[in-house]
């Protein structure tokens, strides 16, 4: 899968590497900024450090 992506990228190895790193950074940004906060709202147990309900 990742090997196929590597082959699909144009240019010499260092250009491919740069593109890969850029893609990785973009994916991480989307995850940290939107996906993880959204998941946290779903899987979080709602515990707030409070007593009572």
């Amino acid at each position: 899968m990742y090997a196929a992506l590597w082959r699909a990228l144009p240019g010499p190895w260092w250009v491919r590497l740069l593109i890969m790193l850029a893609l990785l950074a973009a994916v991480l940004f989307v995850l940290f900024e939107w996906v993880f906060p959204w998941i946290d709202g779903i899987v979080g147990d709602g515990s707030q450090g409070t007593v009572g309900t």
Binding site: M1, Y2, A3, A4, L28, L31, F32, F36, P37, I39, D40, D45, G46, S47, Q48, G49, T50, V51, G52
Partner: protein, 260 residues
């Protein structure tokens, strides 16, 4: 495959086939990495980011309130020991007590040197996630419990881990440790008294006299609640403190945090 290679008559390199099993394996590895990333985001990254934001918001509010009340630091009042205008607190002491605001409104700025010399948080009304997860709060005041300085119980809650990890170091408190609570009126100094480990359902810790729901309050208590053990939510760790003094000017230990 370059032109020269083709002209040399070499056989073309065989293309590696993408095997179904290989893709499945890579997907599993990717999923595992994503789960680890999420845990890291939750407990390290997001907590670290929010800790900074909540600290900064508390500092801004504290300085703003101090400025509005005359902008005096203890050094400027002429008090040599930084305790000018300090009121010791007996049962009959007449202290300023604010009215309880509506949900989400700021009540106080809290300073606990034991949690870190620069540790501070805005206390806002209500204990919902809108307050506890907020980048401008972190500590929530239990609705209809006492306000700072009032006879009774000023009860607040915060996360131990995640979203700023506000009360992560609560178990480090030692008897007599100061808990400074700044309002628009001045600075209330509470001293840590004791811990209690309770079930999450034990709401009597919020009573005006904690756990004595029928008793008439005469002391001015602060109650901090958080989850216990850290990273788990099966119990609650409760810390109690007693009001020691009130002053218009910042106590020495936190004056540096309020200097412009």
């Amino acid at each position: 495959m370059s032109r020269t290679e083709a002209e040399n008559g070499k056989p073309p390199k065989p293309r590696r086939r993408v095997s179904l099993l290989g893709v499945f394996g890579e997907l599993l590895i990717t999923a595992a990495v994503l789960v680890l990333l999420f845990i890291g985001w939750q407990n390290v990254f997001n907590s670290w980011v929010l800790n900074g934001q909540q600290n900064g918001a508390a500092q801004d509010l504290g300085r703003q309130w101090l400025e509005q009340s005359g902008g005096q630091t203890s050094a400027a009042t002429g008090g040599d020991d930084g305790s000018a205008g300090q009121t010791s607190v007996g049962p009959a002491a007449n202290l300023p007590v604010e009215k309880e605001p509506s949900n989400g409104q700021p009540i106080a700025v809290m300073y606990v040197p034991r949690f870190g010399t620069d540790w501070k948080r805005t206390v806002r009304e209500g204990t919902g996630l809108d307050v506890l997860n907020s980048s401008t709060a972190g500590v929530g005041h239990y609705a209809s419990t006492g306000m700072p300085g009032a006879v009774g119980n000023f009860a607040v809650a915060a996360h131990d881990t995640g979203y700023g990890s506000t009360f992560l170091h609560m178990q480090n408190l030692r008897i007599g440790d100061k808990i400074y609570v700044q309002t628009k009126d001045g600075f209330y100094t509470y001293a840590f008294r004791n811990y209690e480990y309770v079930q999450p359902t034990q709401v009597s810790v919020l009573a005006p006299v904690p756990n004595a729901t029928d008793a008439k309050a005469s002391d001015r208590i602060i109650t901090l609640t958080t989850c216990n053990p850290p990273y788990h939510t099966v119990e609650r760790l409760i810390s109690y403190g007693v009001l020691e003094s009130f002053s218009k000017t910042p106590p020495k230990a936190i004056a540096g945090e309020l200097a412009q």
